[in-house]
């Protein structure tokens, strides 16, 4: 007779059914997956290093390169990379390397700020629209439709001539289109989560709107937002560089990777290397951002599980 479970053992062929590792939360498991993606980690480290370089630009300038980004030295203009200028100098004798380091401040600054604004405004709109529904939803989504109907580049050009471009206004201009995409995304997620059992249960025990939205909807919408943000960073850096290149973004003499290429365009027939370095920097940064974004999506996207 069987007195307790200790009295009998599982047959050998059924002994492997026991779980072999403890259950893990979504966040820690996703972080583990991201950590194990070596390409993603490398790309993320590169972005972090570039950000560090941007923040520490004055330190680097004083200690490492000993050049001032705005100091013109017409005697050494169009220098090839060498001892005096490690990556060469531009048409006014300014050091390319130092200008690239300072340019990172603009590109990465605008990039991160734009993503932050897009996410905040887009998420707020999507949450309100999805949760409350009704007339609010209709009105907000129509506004999003209007914003998304404009071809982005025309909108950016139009707004650049309306407002004096600085880092902050440039971020606002670029974010003014992107928030619509985030809003639609978040609204879709909210609509699919809103009627799940745990939401109904929480509401039935008396939780108020704010608690439901902030405490329950936001954490569940966060993964989709993270994925959208990391994929958008690269594109935003490209857009910002294009606006600078066209002369409608950050104006010279403030160095930015895009407007370094504008200057280079005039002289590139005889000084081609002026074109190569700023463009190469943009390319490598955007590549790292894209690869990191792909890695984040592979690790965190709940729809890919």
């Amino acid at each position: 007779m069987i007195e307790s479970t200790a009295d009998y053992e599982l047959a050998p062929d059924r002994q492997e059914i026991r779980p072999s590792r403890p259950a893990q939360s979504y966040w820690s498991e996703s972080w583990e997956r991201l950590r194990r993606n070596r390409l993603g980690v490398a790309a993320g480290t590169l972005i972090a290093l570039l950000a560090l370089m941007a923040v520490a630009a004055p330190v680097l300038q004083a200690l490492v390169t000993h050049q001032d980004p705005s100091r013109q030295d017409l005697g050494t203009n169009f220098d090839l990379p060498g001892r005096a200028h490690w990556l060469g100098s531009d048409e006014l004798g300014r050091d390319t390397l130092t200008r690239l380091i300072y340019g990172a401040r603009i590109s990465l600054g605008v990039g991160f700020l734009t993503v932050a604004i897009q996410l905040t405004v887009g998420a707020a709109t999507g949450l309100a629209s999805g949760y409350y529904g009704g007339v609010l939803d209709d009105v907000l989504m129509r506004i999003v439709d209007v914003v998304l109907a404009f071809p982005p580049i025309f909108l950016f050009i139009g707004m650049s001539i309306l407002f004096r471009p600085s880092t902050v206004t440039l971020s606002l201009i670029i974010a003014s289109v992107g928030w619509g995409v985030v809003a639609r995304l978040v609204r879709g997620e909210v609509l699919s989560i809103k009627n799940r059992d745990f939401m109904l249960a929480t509401r039935s025990i008396g939780a108020r709107d704010a608690r439901l939205i902030l405490g329950h909807l936001v954490p569940n919408v966060l993964p989709v937002m993270i994925v959208a943000a990391s994929l958008a960073l690269g594109q935003i850096i490209l857009i910002e560089a294009a606006l600078d290149f066209l002369g409608l973004g950050i104006q010279p003499p403030t160095p930015s990777w895009g407007n370094m290429l504008t200057n280079a365009q005039t002289y590139f027939v005889h000084s081609g290397w002026l074109v190569i370095f700023p463009g190469l920097t943009i390319f490598v940064t955007v590549l790292a951002a894209n690869l990191f974004g792909n890695a984040v999506r592979d690790a965190y996207d709940p729809r890919l599980r």
Partner: protein, 323 residues
């Protein structure tokens, strides 16, 4: 049923059209009180004359009346006049739109034509060296700034080849007046800009074709065809390819709004006389009305394009009409 769906979609588009026109009208009103250039700067004009001219042009009417005039003008194809020389924006658009379309349509066709073989090759030799190379190229292509790629290509194909005394490609414009502007000349000018513009599409679409092809090749009907003894070439190129390419049509359709606006940076780098470059040139001269007129035109094109695409989808796939 299709008629009801069409009516519903048209009704849904009306607020968007209104929103677009209101927005652009407000911007133009805020920036350009009058579109007659330099009206307030002329020292010989008395204030009474200025007031009379403004009232003749209808600039002293209430805001909503001016907006109504603007809207009716758009319905007739009048998108305003330039602040610089008073020329109608529509005439500029008509003059430049064919050039832009020449560039963007070529780029899209090039993208489709090249991404299909690249994607199929990648799918057939999955994991091999060619596949890894193509995946690498497409990841890189996604990160390259268009203006930089254009400058590099000009640097090599126009400047370097010329320095080495080899046949070189022209670096700007759509055609050369001294060459006669014939088809060969136009094609020569088209090569570099269209390549740059299609690079981005290529990167995205070739990966998409590859994954679509991989999915199709694992379907049951492909397995059946192989089991029946069909030659592999026929399985891949007659049956699998056809089904793998269909989703690409959706992607290409999503790019149609960019037909008018997408080539702006490329147009500026290569001096291509298109709508994008017009908007940019006028923007640098602070010609707000032209820029807003072009923006309105492009936005309305996008709205109507989406409307048309939705109705087309509903016609092709009856399930959508009941959504």
């Amino acid at each position: 049923m299709l008629a009801k769906y069409t009516v519903r979609r048209v009704l849904a588009s009306i607020p968007v059209v209104l929103g677009v026109t209101v927005l652009t009208f407000l911007v133009m009103h805020a920036t350009a009180g009058s579109y007659v250039p330099g009206l307030d700067l002329n020292p010989y004009l008395k204030p009474a004359d200025i007031a009379r001219i403004r009232s003749n042009l209808g600039l002293d009417r209430p805001l909503y009346v001016q907006y109504g005039t603007w809207l009716i003008g758009i319905a007739h194809g009048d998108f305003g006049r330039s602040l610089l020389d008073g020329s109608p924006v529509m005439s500029h658009i008509v003059e430049r739109l064919p050039n832009t379309l020449e560039l963007t349509v070529t780029a899209i066709l090039l993208g489709v034509a090249l991404s299909i073989p690249l994607g199929v090759t990648g799918a057939l030799r999955r994991g091999g060296k060619i596949d890894n190379l193509f995946t690498l190229l497409s990841t890189a292509g996604f990160a390259i700034p268009q203006f930089w790629l254009g400058l590099i290509l000009i640097l090599f194909f126009s400047v370097q080849l010329h320095a080495w005394r080899l046949p070189w490609l022209p670096s700007g414009g759509a055609f050369s007046s001294f060459n006669g502007g014939d088809v060969m000349d136009r094609l020569e000018h088209l090569v570099l800009p269209a390549t740059v513009l299609s690079f981005f599409y290529l990167s995205v679409w070739s990966r998409f074709v590859r994954s679509s092809m991989v999915e199709v090749l694992s379907q049951d009907y492909v397995r059946t065809a192989r089991a029946k003894g069909m030659p592999e070439r026929r399985v891949v190129y007659v049956h699998a390819l056809r089904n793998a390419v269909v989703p690409l049509v959706t992607l290409v359709g999503l790019e149609l709004p960019a037909l008018v606006s997408g080539g702006l940076v490329v147009e500026v780098v290569f001096g291509w006389p298109g709508i994008g470059r017009l908007a940019f040139e006028r923007a640098t001269q602070y010609d707000y009305t032209t820029v807003m007129g072009i923006t309105t035109f492009a936005a309305l094109l996008v709205v109507f394009g989406n409307l048309l695409a939705d109705v087309l989808y509903a016609w092709l796939d009856p399930r959508i009409r009941y959504a």
